[in-house]
Symmetry: D2
Subunit: 333 residues, 4 copies
């Protein structure tokens, strides 16, 4: 469903070309200072307009409609909403007959028997990540003792990001990239066996972001190239710090107090300015498709802050769950 | 929590050296033929005893205690239980003071304030995957139209698996590997926006398996090395088949009717027969640790069938959820 | 949390005197005709303005912001929102220091450490039932084969409703009442053992409505006055019809194909126009309180359509869950 | 589904005449002293054998199979299992063709397409409440500061319980009754708006117990006979104590620190020793049915401790949820 999290729970709604996108946050504790201004910095990091991103211009102004009183959260659900203004919906009609390669056009129409909203990808649009970023800000404020940082480490397979971007622009082609996320300041013990490991929950949330095709924790796929004697992280002190951090700060699905580290692969944006072939379902034959509309050439550039938001929400949720297991009761435990 | 899935829901219980491990399956439809014998084949694939796996010998005989009558499921919860017989718990006492590098020993004791069961890893043990395999058999029977296959494609970084294994054995060191899972026969439309994408749910389940550190769908991390014009899969017919399958059978989080493909990285087993340093929490200093007990040198060898089980459960669950959205109502939709 | 239902799932948001109240419906199938006009009839039944209800006048105009395209549901979350216009928030400041007897004022401030929105009861207001009615309309449209009817059967302990109302008005006092809800057209088999019985789910939803203090199914509390031989409903035909319906259409928590019947008790509205004593927490002593603002004298008059909405949602949800257990799979069951 | 609760979560399994019934408790904090002996007292209260209860004799010996180590909970799922020994399954075959009036026989076979286990009511049996009582003991131990007490206040419509029982026995008929449950020692603030009110959750759990047909909180159905000025409970001190307790300790769905009070109606047991008519589905005509097997004449006698168990579980769950909202975070709230 369109919700994520158990105690800190976010529900998402909206379509790319409908009137609004937004989210509800349920379970946020009362008394947290919160205003739209808190969100500007992260929303700007996600914003379009920079080189390689869609020319669609949106104000991305968050309206906090509910759950707030006199500048503080009240404990009631927090509704955050964004208007969609700059939409050019006529460009999308063709994608019902001729689904774009690499897009959700085909599966959306099939899954919903032709009733899915095709405009701008409808509910499948990357525009909904706006709501994720907003919810992430609330989680970050709760977890202010943490330093959560995601950044692009390679683009189009190259670590020379500016150059890779210029090359893609000149070829009218799209590129993907790798983002690394680190979290410092975590305590030991977040994560729940057996199915709510830290890796399980972060991966669950991250794969909801359009275009993510891989995730690895610690040395991840590289861990298979070394043996256990090299891969094991030796504990060196009372707090559980380790000499190396091949496990990315997680043992048995639980944070071990070291830096949390993971990387995600974001595929090249599906919408490209080159002509592509696709199947025309109305004519039952293959045809050439030229995609118009506003699109990112490298959506990956906008993804780091979304990754941070998912991470913050998972950690806030696990913090609440972990806390209640011990401190809720007056009985001797 | 220790449950996974919404409509086809599996809950896990037990410890490595307690009397039993097992699972409950809730939501399995009534009328499915089911017996312990159905599980033997998959349980054998997970079994220990082969070269590179733990010498701990267990019968792994599933008892189906509830939810079955006259050889068929009744619609009530299905309880499947396995006895633990071959346990040598004295070997583990030391790991409370001296946690094994790469293991959950340290985090388990911290998270549970010293009350966690240390014997054989307790509830964090790979032995609990036995219950996952059993539940997976039930899901596979429901989804009998599918062909779900996982296999080891590399060990210790090498595709020459036998050789890599011998090398590890001779060095008394452990190795990890990569497993590829494919699913044929899927219909279009499984997966739920926004947060229950097929990737999200499979990754969630897979990262619950001890030792998994990475997952990628389709060409995954390789997708960043090519541009969108190469990476996009061109639709070539009315059923949505594509010329290539770089997306691994998933667009926008939804199955597109092509082969589902993903790969996971399993780290080298943490328990090795070599001496390692660790922190002695009783003495507050570092010391050498020699691990006794029964351990896998390459746990990855036993993981493919577990991956299949998780995959089958996710697909059974998504099938139920997808089905009810359209066919449940008599109103014209 | 602020959500209800599993497959047909409704989440609620808003405050009495904030900018909006509303709901999100997640899981509604695609292809259902839906417009704001569908909701007018039920919203009018809940509306204030009639004798015995609050003088607060609101347009109660539903805006369907998401999840709809070309007049049909798309399968994406449906957001329905109502503006709050006629609010007089200055009346409520005193209730922080002097909580109204019978109201949530005191518990809300305590639970949320003083951060709860006190205006008009904030998130605890009966105004949020507006969103429940709107969501109920969607569920009713899905379950159009059913006849769901709730009506007031007694007011202030009397079946002469008009007279009881006049009496209460003349005394400036408030009254409660009993509502009976019946559902015709149900098939056999809705409801899930062990914890999601039809009674469990309806009661869960109904007790979320402010002011409900009791519920009984079939002959309910009267069943204890007769013996089993009288209370048992004799099955008389192949479809499971029974000679009597003391069980209210439910056996073992599951619908049996007969009429579903239950009754709820709605307490007298807490806000009354008479002076009452309460504790003044600022002054630490008891004082007289005179409640201003807009209030219902008999909120129960507006509750029947809310009860219908909850009932429709529960039955839609159970229909989806029941359906997927058998029809989702191609295997012989 | 067969689970109840969010953070303190209980899942139930088993059939009346299968090998076992039991439960899993997930989310119980680590470090709680727990043994089978803790359960004997409550299990004895539920036990059969007394006048008016079934002659089926079972040892009802709880085996705590998982989640416990050295006498303390470990934080892992707690599995509690009971053997079924004294079963006479041949008595039940006839109920497939001739469902017992007032029983789940008919709905169970229909819902599960004939695959339901008919022996002793299968999964629909009151025997599963054994597992509820066991789980309730764990919740009570966590909430040891509370005094939770349920008792039978009337039987067969009479407060002279012994006499009513004798009368029923002499008539070979069954009787129902009313149980009142009170909880002392509650703090202010348990319960979650909008849908997880204390009334919602208790009612949800209570209606899962076979035979419950009504519930009311505080003065419940009696509240409609008085006006608001009489029904409102006046707050008289800083802690929120009230002069009366018509609301049963709950305002706006949240505990207000006064005594929690509710009553439930338990219908007369459906199985009676008199001949009754029912429909014979094999012969398609009505026929006389004589029920053999072991049955309670007044199951209500065994229900008080089950009500306590449900109540304790709800309060433990709400305590965990309430606690994590404020105390989990280091940020100033």
């Amino acid at each position: 469903m369109n919700s994520f999290g158990k105690q800190f729970r976010m529900s998402i709604f909206g379509e790319s070309h409908g009137p609004v996108v937004g989210c509800i946050i349920d379970g946020c504790p009362a008394g947290l200072d919160l205003s739209a201004a808190d969100m500007f910095s992260d929303l700007t990091r996600r914003k379009s307009g920079a080189k390689g991103t869609t020319p669609r211009k949106e104000e991305d102004l968050p309206e906090i409609l509910t759950g707030i009183f006199q500048g503080k959260t009240t404990g009631a659900p927090i509704t955050i909403q964004f208007q969609n203004n700059n939409t050019k919906s006529k460009d999308y009609a063709q994608f019902i007959d001729m689904p774009r390669p690499g897009h959700a056009d085909f599966v959306a129409q099939r899954k919903y028997n032709g009733s899915s909203d095709p405009r701008g990808g409808g509910h499948f649009s990357g525009r909904l990540t706006l709501a994720i970023v907003a919810a992430g800000v609330v989680a970050k404020k709760l977890m202010s003792q943490l330093s959560i940082k995601a950044e692009l480490t390679s683009l189009g397979g190259s670590t020379n990001i500016e150059e890779a971007l210029e090359k893609a622009i000149s070829k009218k082609d799209s590129v993907g990239g790798v983002i690394e996320c680190t979290v410092d300041g975590l305590s030991v013990g977040l994560g729940e066996p057996f199915f709510d490991s830290v890796e399980s929950l972060i991966a669950h949330g991250v794969f909801a972001i359009p275009g993510i095709k891989g995730i690895e924790f610690g040395n991840g796929f590289k861990s298979i190239e070394i043996t256990g004697s090299k891969n094991n992280d030796i504990i060196i002190d009372q707090d559980g710090h380790t000499a190396t951090n091949n496990c990315g700060g997680i043992n048995g699905g639980i944070t071990n107090g070291n830096q949390l580290v993971f990387r995600v692969a974001v595929k090249p944006t599906a919408s490209i300015l080159q002509e592509q072939m696709t199947f025309n379902f109305a004519k039952s034959k293959m045809e050439a498709l030229n995609i118009k509309g506003s699109h990112d050439l490298a959506f990956v550039l906008r993804v780091p802050v979304i990754i941070e938001a998912i991470t913050a929400m998972v950690l806030a949720d696990l913090t609440m769950i972990n806390n209640n297991q011990q401190s809720a009761f007056s009985v001797q435990l």
